[in-house]
Point group: C2
């Protein structure tokens, strides 16, 4: 029985990289071959799109499973397709687990009391994929409702050896509006961070550095990332905003321990739709989109290795 | 073409009450008759539970549709049952729309950029139930990520004559921890409220008092409710925390206009599981649980009528 962060670190040791690949299927951006094949399967738009999302996501998983420790399906894109979308999401999550990947469900859930318990029970499968309706190792959650809304998630995560990533300082341009409001000399995100550190510390296995409660902090805010790394020593980070959103590998360096642990850096669009980026479009084109996905993943791994010691693990 | 709040007000005029019934099925609390029937349908736990949730929810809808303007399915409880749960949720939402009810999906979603667009597109069917994967009239959303994360929801809500309810001051005991943090003399919830007022005002049809962007404010905080009612004149309120959570009808009075408009007051457990409450258990017992649901709904309507003028509309 290993805690979430310990399981994640095992995979990071294996792969020698903290790269996390987002799974963000969007109909308009899919390779034409996948859209055409799906279109011939069903005249129902949602069913056809869900078929395409599943096929595309599984191919991404096949490509990245030998290279990276974890994937992060974005639930919203599947949710947009109704029941067929959720069927596809379930298949994709199962497939990723079977491929040995850690699966972080990016659902940003949050509620109070027994409703929070229901969301936790829904998503926090943790070590045993069959323990929940949705076989996620970890889930992203929103802290606006307060610590009492986070506790039901933390209790179940600890029990199932699952993980959580609480939104602390998000990657979007408008993140500062509420998250940077200063009260008694402390920004809201820092106050949330203090809570997250406390919750994670309480779940930290003895002899280990990290608990199971993580933090989402955008690569787009390198100063806050360094500050928050110091404030939350027991907290694993999930860093969005690398690549398409403008964050660089050096921006993320502050989040890692000297051993290159304690954080994963996510890229979604930049990997999923790599063949649409100039570099890879010229080299591969749409016909070889899978090769573009692999090249972009390898390039991201090499880029991150410049600034984190994980490559020497 | 009517905006969300205008459609909601039409139903409030019809029913002469601002009572909102939550749909919160929980397996352990369901009437034994419903659990037994479902158990005989499938040996798969999720399928059996989903069957029971659908049957139970539809009976609640049958009972309350002639009495109240709207229902609020709690997505978490359906999500907990995986794909069969979402199938049941979809049936329940469709059924409620067909019964003429306004459907507010309580999903507390929130994300940034194109992901926020995907959630909005998923849930904001608005006037035309076929316009989205999930046929909701309105959706609850979380403001932690900032105004830029709310805007995609607002744009689509305005376009589809759908509604939003942004979490402002939630009903849980720990709501104050982050929501009451004071910066430059203003609490976070008040800063969120200022944003919500602005967004709703921008969607307000000319000649109407309310836009389509609402606020969630708990009945458990009557002082803040009065203050926020004044701060957000163009904003319809969704008030949880009445009944089981301890809020009373007089606590909610501050949220209404002199005409009894501009707010709905939610009860979930108190209605759904009325036959487990002492008053109704004695009168009806589990065998007549439907009668208990109807009596509890009528009693809530009468209770609210004491303090809001909606009964005289």
């Amino acid at each position: 029985m290993l805690g979430f962060t310990q399981r994640l670190h095992d995979r990071i040791f294996q792969c020698k990289t903290p790269a996390l690949v987002g799974i963000d299927p969007r109909w308009d951006w899919l390779p034409a071959s996948i859209r055409e094949n799906a279109g011939s399967r069903s005249r129902n738009t949602f069913e056809a799109s869900a078929y395409a999302f599943e096929a595309f996501s599984k191919q991404i998983i096949d490509i990245v499973a030998p290279l990276v420790p974890a994937v992060k399906p974005q639930v919203a894109f599947f949710e947009q397709l109704g029941v067929p979308g959720f069927q596809a999401l379930h298949e994709v999550m199962k497939y990723a687990r079977q491929a040995g990947l850690i699966v972080i469900a990016d659902a940003k859930r949050g509620d109070i009391g027994s409703t929070a318990e229901a969301y936790a029970d829904a998503w926090l499968a943790g070590e045993d994929p069959a323990a929940a309706a949705w076989p996620a190792d970890a889930l992203t959650i929103n802290p606006y409702l307060g610590t009492d809304s986070l506790e039901p998630f933390v209790q179940l995560a600890a029990k199932r050896n699952a993980g959580l990533y609480v939104l602390v300082r998000t990657s979007n341009p408008g993140a500062a509006q509420f998250q940077d409001r200063i009260s008694d000399g402390q920004a809201l995100y820092s106050s949330v961070a203090a809570t997250v550190q406390k919750l994670s510390e309480a779940t930290r296995p003895s002899g280990e550095a990290f608990g199971c409660v993580g933090a989402v902090v955008g690569a787009t805010w390198p100063t806050q990332l360094v500050e928050l790394g110091k404030q939350m020593p027991a907290v694993p980070f999930l860093i969005p905003g690398y690549g398409a959103q403008g964050g660089t590998s050096s921006d993320t360096a502050g989040a890692f321990t000297l051993e290159g642990l304690g954080a994963v850096v996510n890229s979604s669009r930049g990997i999923n739709f790599a063949w649409q980026r100039k570099t890879y479009a010229e080299q591969f084109g749409e016909a070889r989109w899978q090769d573009a996905v692999e090249a972009a993943t390898r390039d991201m791994i090499a880029d991150l290795a410049q600034h984190t010691p994980a490559a020497n693990l």
